[in-house]
Symmetry: none
Subunit: 206 residues, 4 copies
DNA sequence: AATGAATGAGGCTTCATTCAT
DNA sequence: CATGAATGAAGCCTCATTCAT
């Protein structure tokens, strides 16, 4: 109540979307009911319809939010000191920093939805393309990227394929904790990076 | 008529599962209705229930069939002359030889389902583990695998991550034809393989 | 509007149960469809599910309501001036005061259901036991019960057997009106009572 | 195959009806499926339709068979040495000699069905009327029937009401074994008979 | 005579969405 | 702004019945 309407509106939307990810990850987009979401958000069903035209709009908004999150991650990655640090940030955030289980399930569902829903597909394509060019750019500017005769774009594609592949496996809950799982995955991913880039060995300022 | 009952039963199941993939790929597991499937198969709804206990059983059977297909692919890959040929076979079959669109959408849905359905999760985990060890083995035995200091298992994990990552992107229908898309993806995948293995240079027949 | 939520809820439940008896009597528990009930109640099918978990719950609630009705009847019977009046009240109410046809059909169905549904069986057993002890008690306290060497409990069992036997025959719609039928049945029942109890002859205040 | 067609036909009908009582008692007329019956009879579903036009015809045939059984019981009762023996036979057979549980459940369902199905109602009415006149007759001819000022018909009505009332309670499975239950019920029924008739004390042929 | 595969109508239930309060 | 009762279409599944073999 301290904030004007528009803000309260934003808060509500956020609150609903927060509830939605949980439900979507738990049951899937179409198995999660509007009532599930409203219960998770602690509000009434009707209220959701004040902020979203329908269920599809909630899904779209979620996709949209995902896009923004990825863009923020990209921004953070750009500000890392070196390429490898950038990639590590990217990888970690990719599956969700705190709840890889939840985020991965959501993203897999998002791709599944994208295969049928053109609007969602468009959003996801956009995310992918943006990230891909971002990283391509990062690589192109990086002094480390010398080892191979691949183009920066090709490297970026390899990196993203690995990231997505790992995310997909996440939902299988192999291994014990998600912490452990992430460590395993990082080890493998770093293997790829090592093949692609030479470590910027504490530069030769000697 | 020419075939005994058991076979007729198998045929029906196959017929139904064939219809199911189409519907599942088109609309998703839970959006595809039993009526959709029966219509696609050209039979009545009730008949499906003579061959499957319920919808979930159809999904499970599909997962199971996917597992067998992957195992057959693995077998074929094993019989290829060289490691790179094996990987190429693996990659191509991974997303479906004929209809990458359909198969990829189905597999993404399968992973989405695995994140909620323990039985499906178990099946998918099994597929992954089997494939992974198969390829690990292939690499271990291969003379080409010398280039890096990665273990065969680590290489296999990289390879599968890339395959799955590509499959995931498939559903976005980026680029024009699925043929073109596959070519693009192969190009990238080959880049990785080249980093991992040295080409068994047209053996030394000199 | 004048009543709080909980009451509106009770009203709806009552409304639905009222419709349910009609349908159940007309077609039987399992032949009556949820649509039948909703139509009879003048509401939509879905609304029933806001007040009852499923059809079985409607049946159970009906059984439960029957139990309460019987208990109220018992209470009224207890307050009658003499034993014979009590029994007359009991008998009349037993098959439904207004619509013996409907109530009898419902009760026969209730017993049929009880033979398969443990929960319903438990409720019906409870009704029977409560009524039986109530009447046993009534008899034990009554000065009229002197004529035979039967125990009060044995008398109560005879009385209830006759009541239930009559109720069962009710569904055959023998004779013309239900009024006539009831008269006939009462005549027979009174015969039993006369055998068991001596009329408290206009007490000897002379 | 040793018997001519007509007989084989009768056997099949009997076999099917035997299976039907079991199913009907276990699940009720309308809850029992044709498949249940065919399985219980050890034959195929289709075969039932060779001997009965449809499910309703099976129910009617069952009702009809019940009628015949009651008539046979009546005949046996008529041949008993004394009235009380007749009543005892009648009572015992009424709920099924061997499986009171099964027969009682079936009869209650039969009455429930009678309340909606005119054809079944007619059959059941017929049974009741026949039995009732049979017993009325038995009483009228009996030297024991002297104790009260009730007419034989009124006595018969009381007797049948009690029998039916007991049968109805049978489905509640009160008490432990059905043997015990029957003993209890007989005790109560005999109480009534004692009130109505004086024991034909080893006649005074002295 | 006998089988059981096949059909499809119909029943139970869920759920996105609306609207009176 | 917020609620949640109400609607009704649609989905899953069962089952009486038919029919080719």
């Amino acid at each position: 109540m301290s904030l004007p309407q528009s803000d309260s509106g934003l808060d509500r939307r956020t609150q609903i979307l927060d509830a939605a990810v949980v439900c979507f990850a738990k049951r899937g987009f179409h198995q999660a009911s509007m009532h599930d979401i409203s219960a998770e958000a602690g509000i009434s069903v009707g209220l959701i319809y004040r902020y979203f035209q329908n269920k599809e709009a909630v899904i779209s908004a979620m996709a949209d939010r995902h896009k923004q999150e990825i863009q923020e991650i990209l921004e953070r990655a750009r500000q890392a000191p070196g390429l490898l640090e950038s990639l590590e940030i990217l990888f970690t955030a990719h599956c969700g920093e705190k709840e890889p289980q939840v985020v991965s399930a959501f993203v897999v569902d998002l791709f599944a939805e994208a295969s049928r829903n053109p609007h969602v597909a468009e959003l996801v394509r956009d995310v992918c393309e943006t990230s891909m060019s971002g990283v391509t750019d990062l690589i192109a500017r990086s002094p480390e990227a010398k080892a191979t005769n691949l183009t920066p774009r090709e490297m970026a594609e390899l990196i993203f394929a690995v990231n997505d592949g790992m995310l997909m496996r996440n939902v299988l809950k192999i291994g014990s904790t998600s912490q452990e799982r992430r460590e395993q995955q990082l080890k493998v991913a770093r293997n790829l990076w090592r093949l692609l880039f030479k470590k910027q060995t504490e530069p030769a300022y000697a």
